[in-house]
């Protein structure tokens, strides 16, 4: 017989199914993260999953790592402390679009700037799910939310471009529909030194889908399937065929010396070594 391969990574004693709504993309992203860590063969004792507040941030309690469910927007600040104190730990930050880019936007850009050695999985569902569908910094202009009943008047962030501009070592985007590509991106990000970001586009059928008449989970994933282009393919296409599509793949990937290693040099200097 074969058992579900992800079960060995689930938290003993924790009741399932998890809190996410039927068809929520976050569960698919969680699966991709679990498989990526399994592929790397890392010990669960060395894994720390840190999150903030929101739908995505409920993930850590379900996975059998060291886990730290923090306050809204602050996951990256906590994670920076965990990693700096014990650089041997592999620190994954689980965050959402509101958590990372609105209330936590300052921590996000500064962690990228200082090249904190973290892997941030930003589960972007374009809306605040936990609190009932308010618009977020990634809700596209004109789209509806409970606090934007006539459509938003604000422009949205591109988290990958933001992270790169702030100094990230690695940025990539995947979609829940293409869970295998996402898994590969996460695996690559985890092995990167320095600040790495994977933006995982994750459908929210319950709120975003309903408010914007995009249908149920299946319809939203089908839309992703039809409207996602890998960056390598996109580069060869005329601009008008790329407009409005989700571009996936690795956008930025440079070799860097992470903050923790630079700080080790500071220690040596202070100690006169």
């Amino acid at each position: 017989m074969r058992m579900h391969p992800s079960y060995e990574m689930l938290r003993p004693g924790k009741k399932f199914p998890h809190v996410w709504c039927p068809g929520c993309g976050h569960g698919i992203v969680q699966g991709a993260i679990i498989r990526a860590v399994q592929k790397l063969g890392w010990s669960r004792d060395e894994m720390v999953m840190v999150s903030g507040i929101g739908c995505s941030s409920r993930m850590p309690v379900y996975v059998d790592f060291n886990s730290l469910h923090t306050a809204h927007g602050r996951a990256i600040a906590f994670a920076t402390g965990v990693k700096l104190h014990n650089p041997k730990l592999h620190v994954i930050v689980i965050t959402g679009d509101g958590d990372a880019l609105a209330i936590g936007g300052n921590h996000f850009i500064h962690a990228a700037r200082r090249n904190a050695d973290l892997t941030v999985i930003l589960m972007n569902n374009n809306i605040y799910g936990m609190t009932g569908g308010q618009y977020s910094p990634t809700t596209p202009i004109g789209k509806r939310a409970s606090t934007a009943p006539y459509g938003t008047a604000e422009r949205d962030f591109d988290p990958c471009a933001l992270a790169k501009a702030a100094g990230a070592a690695f940025t990539a985007r995947g979609v829940a529909y293409n869970a295998l590509e996402l898994e590969k991106l996460i695996e690559t990000a985890l092995t990167k030194k320095g600040f790495s970001l994977v933006e995982a586009i994750s459908p929210c059928p319950t709120l975003y889908g309903r408010l914007n008449k995009e249908g149920n989970a299946v319809k939203m994933l089908q839309w992703q399937k039809a409207n996602t282009i890998n960056i390598k393919a996109a580069e060869k296409l005329p601009v008008d065929q790329v407009a409005g599509k989700i571009i996936t793949g690795i956008f930025h990937d440079v070799e860097t010396v992470p903050y923790t290693e630079i700080y080790d040099q500071i220690i040596k200097k202070a100690q006169g070594k």
Partner: protein, 87 residues
């Protein structure tokens, strides 16, 4: 109604079912299934369909190509392929 169970309970139930002779290429652990239908919609061979209890059933097991598209896309880890593809 979905019943909340932890992973130990899930494993025991599944192992029990296999001991009793479960022999289909795909297994659905129903207590965790939220009936989102993603597995049914994205199966390339149309192996699955929704049952009367709004949980997937393995309707056409012989068509399964063990591609795991259902397994990797199930948000609830409630479905998995029971055999490895022959290499």
């Amino acid at each position: 109604m979905a019943k909340n169970t932890d992973v130990m309970e899930a494993r025991l139930t599944i192992e029990e079912d296999f001991k009793k002779g479960y022999d289909l290429p795909v297994y659905v652990y129903k207590p965790w299934c939220k009936s989102c239908e993603i597995c049914v919609a994205f199966c390339p061979k149309n192996v699955l369909e929704m049952g009367e209890d709004r949980k997937p059933i393995v309707a056409r097991p012989d068509d399964c190509i063990l591609c795991k598209q259902c397994e990797i896309r199930c948000p609830d880890l409630a479905i998995f392929v029971t055999r490895e593809k022959k290499k």
